[in-house]
């Protein structure tokens, strides 16, 4: 047996299979702070959150249900929301996805889209309310509404991107 190189058709390395999903979410979370963009309002969709949800909708059993704890903490460091917001909300979203994948037997594209859009809307609204507890809730929600609409429309794109990453993740040699 040739130990030097990989054998033809061998599955991808375990390392690559584990790292790519986590790295994609972490990079997407930190990306807005690498761009020279000074925003006056929440203009970018929550990139890290969208990848996080798409990975879980695509591969339900890839991650344990507590994966939102470390990934959420990482996102909190960059998003500007109080630290702990995404830790809590992302983990609750994981639990919601795990529950929905038990209840909906044959989840289709539109199910995935609806679940992701709903979770993004809930998470971004709650995060904004936690960030500004003293402000009027109506104004705070109006602030994140455009972002929620953009994010909901972008979910299929992120599904596609996640799918591409997944193909690379599992590509046989």
């Amino acid at each position: 047996m040739n130990q030097k190189g990989p054998r033809l058709g061998e599955p991808a390395s375990l390392w690559r299979m584990r790292v790519i999903p986590i790295a994609s979410v972490m990079f997407a979370s930190a990306l807005p702070l690498m761009l020279p963009l000074i925003a006056n309002s929440p203009v970018l969709p929550p990139l890290g959150l969208l990848f996080f949800l798409c990975w879980q909708l695509l591969r339900s059993e890839m991650w344990p249900v507590w994966i939102g704890l470390p990934l959420g903490l990482w996102d909190d460091l960059f998003s500007g929301a109080p630290i702990g917001t995404a830790v809590g909300l992302w983990t609750l979203a994981s639990i919601a996805i795990a529950y929905s994948s038990q209840r909906i037997y044959w989840r289709g594209f539109f199910h995935d889209w609806a679940i992701a859009a709903l979770l993004v809307a809930i998470i971004q609204s709650l995060a904004a309310l936690i960030t500004h507890p003293q402000a009027e809730p109506g104004k705070v929600l109006a602030l994140v509404l455009p972002q929620i609409i953009i994010s909901a429309l972008l979910v299929p794109l992120f599904m596609r991107l996640t799918g591409k990453f997944d193909n690379f993740r599992l590509k046989r040699r």
Binding site: P32, L33, A39, S41, L69, I83, I130, K139, V140
Partner: protein, 301 residues
């Protein structure tokens, strides 16, 4: 996607306990996370250091992207201008901004003059900057408006110092790291600035709306004296922002005050200056001859 085949871990006790433990960890972690969030809303100082430390990681990349592409900022504004009336609109706004700057300078000078005459003994405050830098990047996915400034403790930047651009007030330093610091922008919902109308010194409070505009409220609610075009400058009340920095221009009246637009757009300013907080110590210190000059700002990318 199809339903996963093996949702239940089967007869294996170990697998059952493993799944159960994962849920226990997730639920406790989520609850702890939300408690932590509430705690960090109440006490933002302790966690700010953690955050600014993590942003030291992305800052070098932001410096590079900024130097390569220039600033993408004001992207929403630019798109809005095209949708509205195209290039003409943009040109007119540029001219308007120039005029407005002159107007602000004149009206705040007038106000200063009036006060000097009235008091005959007003201490001229030193408006020289503590340090100069530029805004690298900002949070753009959350409801919080925090920008990253290219200088930190290495140039004497500390929490609580006001930041201004050429056109007007930008915000204040939230926390400073070794080489970068965070600026809470004027438009953040939590940023409240005591202002006064440049024309007659009518005191008011400006608070951010989070979407680029400001809410202005007078201290007496009985009448609504604002008119579109009123210029607001900092009043110096509260002891953080030095007086007479241009803040905003009133765009329209609202039922409980006015809607104003900041004069300095953080997305468009090139360099910003970090000032000393307007506290009694600093005002007295500025009366004396200045200590050794600070090193030249190294803000260039």
């Amino acid at each position: 996607m199809v339903r996963p085949a093996h949702r239940r871990p089967g007869q294996s006790r170990k697998a059952q306990y493993g799944l159960f433990a994962a849920y226990v960890i997730a639920v406790t972690g989520a609850v702890a996370g939300l408690l932590l969030a509430i705690l960090s809303v109440v006490d933002p100082i302790g966690f700010a250091q953690l955050r600014v430390a993590s942003q030291e990681i992305t800052a070098p990349i932001a410096r590079v992207t900024r130097s390569v592409t220039g600033s993408l900022s004001g992207i929403d504004d630019t798109v809005g201008a095209y949708v509205g009336a195209g290039t003409q609109n943009r040109r007119l706004r540029k001219e308007l901004a120039d005029t407005r700057r002159q107007l602000v300078a004149t009206s705040s000078l007038q106000e200063e003059n009036r006060q000097l005459k009235a008091l005959l003994k007003l201490q001229e405050t030193d408006k020289t900057a503590l340090a100069n830098g530029y805004l690298l990047t900002s949070t753009s996915t959350s409801a919080k408006r925090i920008a990253l400034l290219s200088i930190g403790r290495n140039l004497g930047v500390a929490a609580g110092q006001p930041v201004r651009g050429a056109d007007g007030l930008i915000g204040r330093i939230l926390s400073s790291g070794p080489s970068v610091s965070q600026v809470l922008l004027l438009t953040d919902v939590d940023n409240i600035v005591p202002v006064r109308r440049a024309r007659d010194g009518l005191p008011a409070l400006a608070s951010g709306r989070g979407n680029g505009d400001l809410d202005v409220r007078t201290l007496n609610i009985a009448n609504n004296p604002f008119k579109p075009g009123d210029i607001l400058v900092t009043s110096g009340t509260g002891g953080l922002y030095p007086p007479n920095i241009p803040v905003a221009i009133v765009v329209r009246r609202q039922h409980d005050g006015a809607l104003a637009r900041p004069l300095a757009d953080p997305g468009k300013v090139d360099a910003v200056a970090v000032l000393r907080p307007y506290t009694p110590d600093n005002i007295e210190a500025q009366g004396r001859p200045a200590p050794a000059p600070l090193p030249a700002p190294t803000g260039a990318p």
